[in-house]
């Protein structure tokens, strides 16, 4: 079983995933891209946070102009080797200016959490036995970074210049 | 008529990558000491039994391979397994074939 890690702490998940053919409950929901594209107007008109779940082959550009009316984008890792979601998260933060939650779900390794964090993920669906200490460790193993990313962190070049 | 083909089971020791051969529930380092399975059933049973050592993080990459019996000894059919059993053909001073290599039997 899994639990939600959000902004560095475990949290209850207010969102409910809704199948394409199921009736929409009240409250925070997550729908597939297909359903979002089909029922966009009515979904956005609901007075509750909306999340869309993207498969690894689906670019966030497919969300259209309303991406910032979403509260959550869920990016799937069908297999940890499929690294497309790293680019999707970066795109959401940088090109699309998305400020909501970007959540990693599926098959990913503890050792990928650091990279996910850098490109803009701020929530993870993790196994029940995953600890905050492991999370902190994953983020802290490599102190400095050579290249800029969506996290806006200072790079080694910046640190060198400010010595 | 080609002589019959039998199976043996091999893997690599996780810690050091050394090539191993299954023998009666354990692993040996020399192909000559390894077990030749009389039939597919025995081979598959050994592969299944070997999973405990994979799950137990002792070995990796376990698989069955073909051998023929020549002069009473198992000889791999494929060049790859011959090289794996002996060592690089271009460096006879390295690998299990090396004169300095000890022939170690019956342990993991």
């Amino acid at each position: 079983m899994t639990k939600l890690l959000k902004s560095g702490a475990f949290a209850a998940d207010p969102f409910v995933s809704v199948a394409d053919d199921a009736v929409l409950p009240d409250g925070d929901i997550i729908v597939s891209l297909a359903r979002f594209q089909k029922e966009r107007e009515s979904l956005l008109a609901r007075n509750a946070p909306l999340g869309v779940r993207l498969q690894s082959s689906q670019s966030p550009e497919l969300l259209g102009d309303d991406v910032n009316r979403l509260s959550l984008v869920v990016l799937e890792f069908p297999k940890f080797r499929d690294g497309r979601a790293f680019s999707w998260a970066r795109m959401l933060r940088t090109r699309l200016g998305f400020t909501g939650e970007i959540r990693a779900v599926g098959d990913f390794l503890f050792d990928q959490v650091n990279y996910q964090h850098r490109v803009g993920f701020d929530a993870w669906e993790v196994p029940d036995n995953f600890t905050i200490a492991q999370f902190q460790k994953a983020l802290g193993e490599i102190s400095n970074v050579y290249q800029p990313s969506a996290d806006g962190r200072k790079t080694i070049r910046d640190l060198r210049a400010s010595r | 008529m080609a002589t019959p083909v039998f199976k043996m089971l091999t893997s690599n020791r996780l810690r050091d990558g050394d090539v191993l051969y299954w023998k009666a529930g354990t692993w040996v380092e020399d192909l000559r000491d390894g077990e030749v399975f009389p039939d597919e059933t025995a081979a598959e049973a050994a592969l299944a039994a070997a999973q405990k050592d994979i799950l137990g993080n002792q070995v990796v990459a376990a698989y069955l391979f073909d051998v023929r019996i020549e002069n009473g000894a198992a000889r791999p059919v494929k060049e790859r397994e011959l090289v794996r059993a002996a060592g690089p053909t271009v460096r006879p001073d390295t690998g299990k074939q090396a004169p300095s290599a000890e022939r170690v039997s019956n342990h993991v």
Partner: protein, 554 residues
């Protein structure tokens, strides 16, 4: 050459500790092999036929003597006393134990070396011309840009789980010694019509199952834009590559599927966005700062005076022969570039023993400002030697069996490790190289034949670059027997071409004879000044094929 500052040092040190933790988690079972495999690959650790193989990065092929001595030490302490220089200018050790790797990485870190991203589906070692900084041909030294690319690509969070590996090369000369057009992406340092230096970027080249020559992505990228442009290419690749078929996941497949024009359009779009954010601009000051590490040594004012026959060297043709092939023109008068061939006749191509490495380190210190280069042709190059020191260098090389005078000749064969070492191989490649080398050992014959690049791969993955061989040989497994297919007319130089497949393969004991018959056709048909490659391009396959498949009388 580049020297780590405290940030670089900390980076590799932390990487070592990270891997130490990952190894512990693997041994305890917290990580399964499936989970551990990408992690160990990104630290250069493969499980091969006999043991683990560790691939050590040699960025743009440059090593210091201190680093060479450390490699010798590692060979002795953790391996079987020798290492193998690869076609991506890295060094491989074949007999490594997993449990030793964290300590090996720590030893490497102590001399500013690492194994980061030498395998795995990520950006790999950046390679460059082995004559960089020494050749008079270059527009500028390609290594500062190579170092900048190396840093930018190190643990790049967006690109560590690409669809497949990604290989980058940098060039700066009209004569391409780095096989740029066979890389996933390459940067060619060029001058525009106004004489301004910038970068031509090409992408989509590759070897393997389906070889391709790269397409131009941009004829001229301004200096300050280069990282933004490279990131744009990687981003399009990461987003748009297939992920459903491992044989169709290199960038060459993507570009050929959508067409180079569409690829350029997608890259341009990403590039415009990145450039607007400004986060990846490369200021001239940074380029200058890195370039300063690669400033040439202070060359003495010496006259150009190549030493002649020296009776101390046995007074014979050995030194003259070596000079003919293994010594190249240097930008500074009185200096030379000296190639150490790792292709001694009958030896394993690209291998060097620990003792040889130590002796080479001494040579580096004494004669080449402590520096050496690795070429993608699996040889070593002393970049800055004085012409007057050449006799002494040659004598020393003779003493350690590294004076083979065959650079660029038919016995200077590239061969992958093949089925003797590699888990992926279908056939052995090294014995074929040895057999061919022995057949053509006569030096007069080699000089008569002239430049002929033979490249041998033991499987379709083409690590021996056989598609780019003037004569390429591919080992295949035909019903359990090793067979060798011939390809003719490939080239990895600026005149890049993919070799043409001749036909059915030859057996292990036939292939050298077939090669000989092919060479004899060249000798018969050539016009003055033609290399093998030129004659092949002029007359085509037919006569070569006919001769190759001729039955040799018993």
């Amino acid at each position: 050459m580049y020297r780590y500052d405290e940030f670089d040092a900390k980076f590799v040190a932390e990487r070592v500790e990270q891997f130490r933790g990952q190894v512990a988690r693997r041994l305890s079972g917290e990580l399964t092999e499936d989970q551990f495999k990408p992690l160990r690959l990104m630290n250069g650790l493969y499980l091969q036929l006999h043991a683990y193989m560790l691939r050590i990065a040699v960025p743009y092929g440059t090593l210091s003597s201190r680093q060479m001595r450390k490699l010798a030490h590692i060979a002795r302490r953790y391996d079987k006393g020798f290492g193998h220089f690869t076609t991506r200018t890295n060094l491989q050790f074949n007999w490594i134990k997993l449990v030793d790797v964290p300590d090996i990485l720590a030893e490497l870190a102590s001399v500013e070396m690492h194994c980061i991203q030498t395998s795995g589906n990520c950006i790999r070692n950046v390679t460059a011309d082995q004559f960089a900084g020494a050749t008079p041909e270059e527009i500028e030294d390609p290594r500062p840009l190579s170092e900048i690319i190396r840093q930018w690509s190190s643990l790049h969070p967006e690109f560590v789980f690409l669809a497949r590996k990604f290989k980058i090369a940098v060039g700066a000369t009209p004569h391409d010694r780095a096989a740029l057009q066979f890389h996933d992406m390459a940067v060619d340092i060029v001058k525009n019509e106004q004489g301004r230096v910038g970068y031509k970027v090409i992408a989509g080249g590759g070897m393997g199952r389906t070889p391709y020559i790269a397409h131009v992505m941009s004829e001229f990228v301004e200096r300050e834009d280069i990282l933004a442009y490279l990131e744009a290419v990687l981003r399009v690749y990461n987003q748009d590559s297939r992920r459903d078929n491992i044989h169709k996941q290199r960038i060459k497949i993507l570009i050929n599927a959508i067409g180079p024009e569409e690829m350029r359009r997608r890259v341009a779009r990403e590039f415009d966005e990145i450039k607007r954010t400004g986060s990846l601009q490369l200021p001239q000051a940074e380029l200058d700062r890195i370039a300063a590490y690669f400033a040439p040594p202070a060359f003495e004012a010496l006259p150009d005076a190549m030493p002649l026959l020296d009776s101390k060297n046995g007074g014979d043709r050995a030194f003259e022969n070596w000079k003919k092939t293994n010594v190249h023109k240097h930008r500074a008068p009185g200096y030379a570039i000296a190639t150490i061939s790792l292709k001694a006749i009958g030896q394993v191509p690209g291998d060097a023993s620990a003792d040889q490495m130590d002796a080479i380190a001494d040579l580096m210190d004494k004669y080449s400002v402590g520096e050496i280069r690795v070429s993608h042709e699996q040889n070593l190059v002393l970049p800055h030697v004085k012409q007057k020191d050449l006799p002494a260098i040659f004598a020393r090389l003779q003493a350690i069996d590294l004076a083979t005078p065959n650079a660029g000749l038919i016995t200077d064969i590239i061969a992958c490790p093949g089925l003797d070492y590699c888990d992926l191989a279908n056939a052995r490649s090294i014995p074929v190289a040895q057999r061919i080398a022995k057949k053509f050992a006569d030096l007069d014959r080699q000089h008569d034949i002239g430049e002929l690049k033979i490249k041998i791969s033991g499987c379709i993955n083409a690590c021996g670059h056989h598609h780019a061989g003037h004569i390429g040989i591919l080992g295949v497994d035909k019903k359990g027997v090793e067979f060798y297919q011939l390809q003719l007319g490939g080239s990895g130089a600026e005149d890049a071409s993919i070799g043409d497949i001749m036909g059915p393969g030859f057996g292990e004991h036939e292939i050298a004879g077939a090669v000989e018959r092919v060479v004899n056709v060249y000798l018969k048909e050539r016009k003055t000044g033609e290399r093998f490659l030129d004659t092949y391009r002029r007359i085509g396959m037919a006569k070569f094929k006919e001769a190759a498949y001729e039955q040799v009388p018993a």
